[in-house]
Amino acid sequence: MSLAQPRSTPTWLALLLPLTVAVIFIGIWHVAVSWTQSLIFPRPWEVVEGMLELATKGVLHKYIISSLFRVLWSFAIAALLGVPFGLLLGWWRPANLAFNPILQLLRPISPIAWIPLSILWFGLSEAAPMFLIFLSSFFPITLSSMAAVRNIQPVYLRAASNFGLGRFRLFTAVILPATLPQILTGLRIALGIAWLVVVAAEMVVVNPKAGGLGYLINDSRSAGRYDLVVAGMVLIGVIGLILDLLIRQLEKFDEVRWAYATQ
């Protein structure tokens, strides 16, 4: 392979730089809170203490599990429905003509705007927040799958028709693998959005016993515990990062790597 190696930064530098930025950031945070003598905003250390408090009370991992449960299932259902639907819209023009306008209309509506309806429809069950998360990821998944079909290089379709593929094999042997990279990218973005929406979704009353990280934020806000609000934010950030790292691993497979820039 003739890939030119990009000038590589030494590992110690790649570790040191972000660490320095983090330390400076936390330092500024601490100094700013101390200077302004804020009664409300917590210091970094108080946030860590807040997390430890939640962990020792045994609710931290419970909340994390609850949020993951809601987000991952909603996302999975959105993917299961959105990918085939998007492929259909991309492939079959009448379906596209029929559904694209309404999709484009619903897409820009923020999940927060759906909160009243979701409570009216689903009440206090887990379905209410999950519906919001589902919506937030269903549209990007559907639209990226649709675009993926439209972006298939015509030469692959011509080669496929030359070999006399039936509809089924055309789908499994060409359309699906050709669209997979873009579908995967769509899924990755949608998972990020789904996780982003967890706070808003859990503003819808969730079962306080199950809780959740968004619930933690909303609830701590009511109780005036801003240290726990920030703790919730930090946890959401960290877990979001881990989810993204995990799904990124899929992009390394040979089945899809061809479509991503090779560096």
């Binding site: 392979m1 290089q153 030469v155 692959y156 011509r158 080669a159 028709s161 030359n162 070999f163 006399g164 094999r169 042997a173 060409v174 693998p177 050709a178 997979l180 040979d254 089945e255 899809v256 790597r257 061809w258 479509a259 090779t262």
Partner: protein, 274 residues
């Protein structure tokens, strides 16, 4: 060099059973594209008559944009002509057909499959053992031994064209359409690819209709060179190249044939001046 090469395939039934021995027969082929956004219609092919015999290697040459790809696309069934009679394999063309495989100008190898799976793409009806044997045969024929598990993105442009050629051959078609398959390759690779293609054609004896704008390529490969005029394309001349292969590029007969093609393209002065 132990390029005895793989043994020719005798096991496959030859389906070259066209009554008059013609693989392709074109009469008054015409193509006009409807003008887009208020533009007048574009006439691209203005009446072509051409016969290609079974087993023959015919090369179409012409300046860029004259309509070569369009002719081949119509033969391959990817485009519908606006007029004329198009008979391939004794029957009118209704669309792409696995008995005639296209090798595309822009490489049509599937990037999500490795070399072996690409070559075996057209062999889904064969048994597993047959498939494996055919794949191994063509991997060797196109010189990709050792790269069986490689993915297209790990191969050079020339190797990718070899994969596509092998994929076409493995499907055992009667005809192979090739649209400037070596156009994107560097000069030395192109030379090597041409001589390999000739060797393969000699062992497989498929009918090949090959499109290029490169006159040397045409003279090195063809039984007959069909020279097209600039758009709208008509046949300017048909030049038979009756030279033994592999061809010596410095032989007087070779140069003579070349000159005739240049002449037909209206560029003799240019050729002489070289």
């Amino acid at each position: 060099m132990k390029s005895a090469g793989p043994t020719p395939r005798n096991d496959l039934p030859l389906r070259h059973t066209v009554p008059n021995g013609l693989a392709v027969s074109l009469r008054d082929l015409r193509m006009t594209f409807p003008g887009q956004r208020g533009q007048p219609p574009v006439e691209v092919i203005a009446g072509i008559d051409l016969d290609v015999h079974v087993g023959e290697f015919v090369v179409l040459v012409g300046p860029s944009g004259c309509g070569k790809s369009t002719v081949l696309n119509i033969l391959g069934g990817f485009q519908q002509a606006s007029g004329g009679q198009i008979v391939v394999g004794g029957q009118p063309v209704h669309g792409p057909d696995p008995r005639r495989i296209f090798v595309f100008q822009e490489n049509g190898v599937f990037p999500w499959l490795n070399v072996v799976d690409n070559i075996g793409f057209g062999l889904s009806k064969h048994s597993r053992a047959e498939r494996e044997q055919l794949i191994a045969h063509y991997v060797e024929m196109v010189g990709l031994k050792g790269f069986e598990k490689a993915y297209p993105r790990e191969l050079s442009g020339g190797m990718r064209q070899r994969v596509e050629l092998a994929r076409a051959l493995a499907a055992n078609p009667e005809i192979i359409w090739m649209d400037e398959p070596f156009g994107a390759l560097d000069y030395l690779t192109r030379l090597k690819m041409r001589s390999d293609l000739v060797r393969i054609w000699q062992s497989e004896r498929k009918t090949i209709v090959f499109v290029t704008h490169d006159i040397d390529e045409a003279v090195q490969l063809a039984d007959r060179v069909v020279v097209l005029t600039p758009r709208p394309a008509k046949i300017a001349a048909i030049v038979p190249i009756d030279l033994p292969r592999p061809r010596d590029m410095d032989a007087p007969d070779y140069l003579h044939a070349r000159d005739r093609i240049f002449e037909a393209m209206g560029n003799l002065a240019l050729a002489r001046g070289r």
